[in-house]
């Protein structure tokens, strides 16, 4: 409802808050109320009721359609934003779950933390009901049916809560209600054996016994955040929202590198996240070819990319996380204390990769093939190549065209050397030639019908040396007359 209100505010046609307004979704018998604003609630509109009934109660009711998918997506983004309080956060479709174990003291105790959360969320224009409990189920129930900003004091807190607080489906809750089990305390008083027998085949979402165990902690229910929080993290909390993280980056990098050095790790992948004041997060990532904990290098990698981060209306929390780390011991490359060439090369690869993308730089490696375009492969710059195949004895040109270019050739039919050829609209007269060097197609990977190649090294009258080939023979039955191609240039 509040998200809808903000959307309307942004588009400038928000109705007055005094008018009753509901958001509806399609139900089995026409639209039903999904959410209602305060005025509508006061007028007696109930969530889940049919819109026609509510119109009878409140004739001035304004109706609009809800957007459950958008709500879900917004909740997931909010779950990421909630990492400003603690690292383990997840959205469960109806609310946020935060595992605040070990982080409440950072906010001055549990009540102060809840107050801070509620204040932050209300700054976003969202109302919230918060509760703190040792288990997910208990917190869920307390937040919805307990007192304001409830904090778990003991199992006695749960007893007066209604059974709907057990995260059960509507039918099961209704069934328990009819059985006279109206509160969690009533349900807990029933012998376990009877409950287990009654709900033996029920799934988890419909099984009150399992849900009760989850609430009391007898059944573990771990939190599954969308991605695991990083082990190494450095944060900068700012008094006022800012737009440019540049000045805070060196301090963050120093901080992170100090933590990495203590643990003996080096970062392979870094993520810079800014927590915006409008409840969103934006992040940029960089990757390194070799683990590193050199602050100046990390700062350099972010240097040109900071402008790609979307600051929105400003952000007040910057976090630098090492999402992937590797053990990195302190090594001395040589006793004389000289520079480490492998390290310098990996630094260079990092800088160029950050600037030009992952695929821009490649290392050429020989492959075991006689077809020239297959004789060379590409690998990442720092990869270790497989043992080299024995080099071919035949001479190869220094430069190779990516795609052989077709040339028109005068030659002695059927298998003579080229006497004259036209390449790129210029006529070249062959003076000397060497060849042919016949390269047969590789039948295990070529298509059927691929023709063999006869390569000639040809020198023209101006002193340029080219590598030409004739594709096929005259009577090989694989197409018409053979064609000629220019494939490379010799020095």
């Amino acid at each position: 409802m509040e998200r809808w209100q903000r959307e309307q505010d942004r588009t400038g046609n928000a109705p007055s808050a005094d008018l009753p307004q509901v958001l509806v979704v399609e139900g089995a018998h026409g639209p039903v109320v999904h959410a209602a604003n305060r005025a509508a609630c006061l007028a007696g509109v109930a969530t889940g009721a049919r819109v026609v009934d509510m119109r009878a109660i409140c004739p001035s009711l304004r109706v609009d359609y809800a957007d459950p998918q958008g709500d879900l997506a917004a909740l997931e983004r909010l779950a990421l934003w909630a990492r400003r309080w603690c690292p383990w956060t997840a959205a469960d479709g109806q609310g946020l779950i935060l595992d605040t174990t070990g982080s409440d003291h950072l906010w001055g105790g549990e009540p102060a933390m809840l107050a801070e959360m509620e204040g932050r969320l209300s700054l976003l224009g969202l109302s919230s009901r918060l509760a703190l409990a040792p288990t997910w189920g208990a917190a869920w129930a307390l937040a919805r049916f307990g007192p304001v900003r409830a904090i778990w004091r003991g199992a006695a807190d749960l007893a007066p809560l209604p059974v709907a607080g057990l995260r059960l489906g509507d039918e099961t809750a209704l069934l328990l209600h009819r059985l006279g089990l109206k509160t969690v305390g009533d349900l807990a008083a029933v012998p376990r054996l009877a409950l287990a027998r009654r709900f033996a085949r029920a799934q988890l979402a419909e099984n009150p016994l399992l849900r009760l165990d989850q609430m009391t902690g007898h059944l573990a229910e771990p939190l599954a955040p969308p991605d695991a929080p990083a082990v190494f993290c450095a944060e900068a909390r700012l008094a006022e929202p800012i737009f440019d993280p540049t000045h805070h980056l060196p301090g963050l990098c120093d901080d992170l590198c100090a933590r990495l050095a203590v643990a003996g790790h080096g970062a392979r992948r870094l993520r810079l996240t800014v927590y915006r004041t409008d409840g969103e997060v934006a992040s940029i990532e960089v990757a390194m070819a070799a683990p590193s904990r050199e602050a100046a290098h990390l700062v350099f990698l972010f240097r040109d990319r900071l402008e790609r981060i979307d600051p929105g209306f400003g952000f007040d929390l910057i976090a630098l996380e090492a999402t992937v780390t590797e053990p990195l011991a302190v090594v001395q490359a040589n006793l004389a204390g000289g520079r480490d060439e492998a390290l310098e090369l990996s630094r260079l690869v990092d800088r160029l990769t950050v600037r030009f993308g992952v695929g821009a730089m490649s290392r050429a490696v020989p492959r075991a093939s006689h077809i020239p375009e297959r004789a060379e492969g590409r690998m990442p710059p720092l990869a270790t190549p497989a043992p080299l195949p024995p080099p071919s004895l035949a001479e190869r040109p220094l430069r190779l065209l990516d795609h052989p270019e077709e040339v028109r050739v005068l030659y002695a039919v059927p298998e003579g050397p080229p006497a004259q050829f036209v390449w790129r609209r210029q006529t070249h007269r062959a003076v000397r030639y060497a060849g042919p060097e016949r390269i047969a197609p590789e039948w295990w990977q070529d298509r059927p019908g691929t023709r063999l190649r006869d390569y000639f090294k040809v020198e023209d009258d101006t002193g340029h040396r080219y590598w030409l080939f004739r594709e096929g023979l005259h009577d090989d039955g694989r197409g018409g007359d053979p064609r000629w191609f220019l494939h490379g240039m010799f020095t």
Binding site: A360, M361, P397, R399, D402, T462, M489, T491
Partner: protein, 228 residues
């Protein structure tokens, strides 16, 4: 006709890890005459010091399409080749400058097509200073470019010549020969040679192209040296 095997060198520091004359540790510019891209590349490779250090070879898209990419099998000696293919000429210069900041490289070779506006005096000056600071030779190969204002310490012009006779087969081309023209240099007299690349020994045999020997005789008085 005098016969020399290395270029005159006015006391500049060069690497010689394998006891071989290496290329000057600064920025050199090589202009390839029409369709002689491979010849220019071959000349540059013959000037590099032998060693295991990788070569960073950067091409802009146009020179890669028009003159092809360097082929590992044609390079001969088992060097490590790091290739980059970059669309914009300005980015080629940025990548070359990044490469020159690292001492791990054996050389940086950048190929540019035509006369990109980014390649001005400032850009070449940056490259030259960077190369001299780290001691990594940088070679700029220019395809169909004009010799405009540049801070390159040596500027060459390479054209292909008919190859030397092949001792094994009279009809086949032999060792490649180039007309090597050093037309601007900081500390060498400008000169014209006919270079023959002995592939078996990876050696460059030079002979003066001017037969009367006036240019080949000596460096000449200091005042006549060209300033690049």
């Amino acid at each position: 006709m005098s016969r020399i095997s290395t270029f005159p060198d006015a006391g500049r520091q060069t690497t010689a890890p394998g006891g071989r004359q290496g290329s000057p540790l600064t920025l050199s510019e090589v202009f390839a005459e029409a369709r002689s891209g491979a010849g220019a590349a071959g000349f540059v490779l013959s000037q590099l010091a032998r060693g295991a250090a990788p070569i960073l070879w950067i091409q802009d898209r146009m020179s890669c399409r028009e003159t092809g990419r360097p082929c590992l099998a044609g390079l001969g000696d088992g060097r490590t080749l790091l290739r980059m293919e970059i669309t914009r000429p300005a980015d080629v210069l940025v990548a070359a400058e990044e490469g020159l900041r690292s001492k791990a490289l054996g050389a940086v070779i950048a190929e540019l097509w035509g006369d990109p506006p980014a390649l001005n005096f400032t850009a070449t000056k940056r490259l030259a200073l960077r190369a001299e600071a780290t001691g990594v030779p940088c070679w700029l190969i220019r395809h169909s470019g004009t010799a405009d204002l540049s801070a390159a310490r040596d500027r060459w012009r390479i054209a292909s010549l008919p190859s030397a006779p092949n001792p094994d087969d009279t009809k086949a081309p032999g060792d490649p020969r180039w007309r090597v023209d050093l037309f601007r240099s900081r500390d060498k007299p400008p000169m014209l040679w006919v270079a023959r690349h002995d592939r078996a020994a990876d050696r460059l045999d030079l002979s003066a192209a001017v037969s009367d020997g006036t240019l080949a005789a000596g460096a000449g008085p200091d005042g006549q040296r060209a300033i690049g």
